[in-house]
Symmetry: C2
Subunit: 314 residues, 2 copies
């Protein structure tokens, strides 16, 4: 049987273990497992890597535990502005949206844009209208808001007033997935609310093809999480691909080099998941933790938030 | 004396020579020369490559002959939505804005964002407000409109109604500049109105760092023009850089490979200007023509729209 594999992240910058209750950690791991399960079911059914990454991201968008869709971060004006993208490594087709205020599942809008073909990237109210015309669910701002994100905004405003630094978890978080399907195709998708207290109109790396999201058959698929400004400047996803394709680095060397060497001088929180053409997945991060999970080509599934890795049944 | 060099473009997709009057062609070449002159003056004065590309792009934004700033294309709703970005190859710092409806010189807002540092990329009304707060000039939509672009929108609407194809010139156009300064630093900047009759909210490659704009010291600086969707998918600027840095291609091979090989199957209009760390500039395009100009490290200056190249005095 052809190899299939999947890896997901629910954001790096996880707080110290004592900053969330045991129930919250378990809930986050449970939703990571649900996202893996949703994506892996598509791959097992012979569906495309694009189908799989979309399905996995949708579960994390719908979960309150991750900063995307329901549970997205609030910006400086207390608004949700959502970014997402998806890329098909088989065709290099892609779709991306930014500054959406209404799309329930931004990754679905990115997918719809990719298939529509009229544009790769749309921003603002026009992206919301596009989604609605395509029959995707739109929501009032209140749908995206959770008590946790309201608390995070209040905390960041206190930090800003006091001139102190917020925790990594308050600063960023993003969800994403990468997959290899049975036909040998790669895909990547990413979705985010940005970071708490971000400037209105600020766009990070998540909707930037080549930065937060990139996939190319025969090379790799990448989804990033962290302070997106630096991912844009380093063209993160495409840089990983270039080192694999042109410098003949393996995926672990290429991904680790970006996160722990190239980005290190910036002293930012950063992580990614990446998968190569053989289904080898890596998930480097430089923060205390990263919500993540993966299914190996042999069918073994794992989720993790910190160093401890939990094998799960899908 | 240290080498300095500059290259600019005013968009590919130039129409057949008989589609504009002799006065219009001369006016376009005159404004290309003015843009070169403005950028080169900064380099001769010992200013940075960032200063030079900004100065050159501002002249083309202010000119009615090019699709950026005054003279920008109109979207499907008869509105101007402007995108721009700038990148400093010395630091990999960058600034980008999209869907601006009011900034007189979008490249100045991209520069201001790069220097502000709070974000790399802002979109929509928030980008306009950012520019205004920074003291940059904002304008009503009418400032950007020229009779030529009104005519182009009417023509594209007729084409759309009749199911026929517009000319390359009606479809796209963008301005950009790349420079090498006396300190050996590279920079790139790009600014555009997109293409005539584009969907509202559509963003092309011009504000995408790694696609329409990219600069990295020791490697190259790139600014693209053409159907931006494909530049995003191929991560054009960073791909040129990766082939130079990792495959050890020269800049002509790398740039020509993207425009005339990688993009060829898509049958789109495409061009770019690029400059390497030694000041060697290239300007490949696959359309009937491309507004372009350059100053060599030896101080010789040239402008061109089609095959014929005019040496000029700066």
């Amino acid at each position: 049987m052809a190899k299939i594999a999947l890896a997901i992240h629910g954001g790096c910058g996880v707080m110290p273990e004592d900053s969330m209750t045991q129930e919250e950690w378990e809930g986050a791991r449970r939703d990571l497992a649900a996202a893996l399960s949703a994506g892996y079911a598509r791959l097992k059914a012979g569906d495309s890597a694009v189908d799989a990454v979309e399905a996995a991201v949708v579960v994390m968008e719908d979960s309150p535990h991750f900063n995307a869709g329901h549970g997205a971060a609030l910006n400086e004006n207390g608004l949700h502005e959502l970014d997402a993208s998806i890329m098909d490594g088989a065709t290099l087709e892609a779709g991306a949206i930014s500054a959406s205020r209404a799309i329930r599942n931004p990754v679905k809008a990115a997918r719809a844009l990719m298939e529509d073909g009229r544009a790769v990237y749309m921003t603002g109210p026009a992206a919301d209208r596009f989604a609605e015309v395509k029959g995707l669910q739109v929501e009032p701002q209140s749908y995206f808001t959770t008590p946790k994100r309201v608390g995070a905004l209040e905390a960041m405003r206190r930090h800003a007033a006091a001139g102190t630094d917020g925790t990594e978890n308050e600063k960023h978080g993003t969800v994403g997935a990468v997959a290899l399907d049975a036909a040998g195709h790669l895909a990547a998708a990413t979705s985010t609310g940005g970071y708490t207290n971000k400037p209105e109109g600020r766009v990070g790396d998540s909707p930037i093809i080549g930065a937060g999201t990139y996939a190319r058959d025969g090379v790799c698929a990448v989804s990033g999480t962290g302070q997106g400004e630096f991912f844009i400047r380093h063209v993160l996803g495409h840089e990983v691909a270039s080192r694999i394709a042109y410098l003949k680095q393996d995926i672990a060397t290429a991904a680790d080099g970006l996160i722990n060497h190239d980005l290190a001088p910036h002293r930012i929180g950063a992580g990614l998941v990446a998968i190569d053409a053989q289904g080898v997945a890596v998930a480097p991060y430089n923060t205390p933790g990263m919500f993540r999970g993966w299914v190996t080509p042999e069918g073994h599934a794992f989720v993790a938030t910190h160093d401890q890795i939990y094998e799960i049944e899908l």
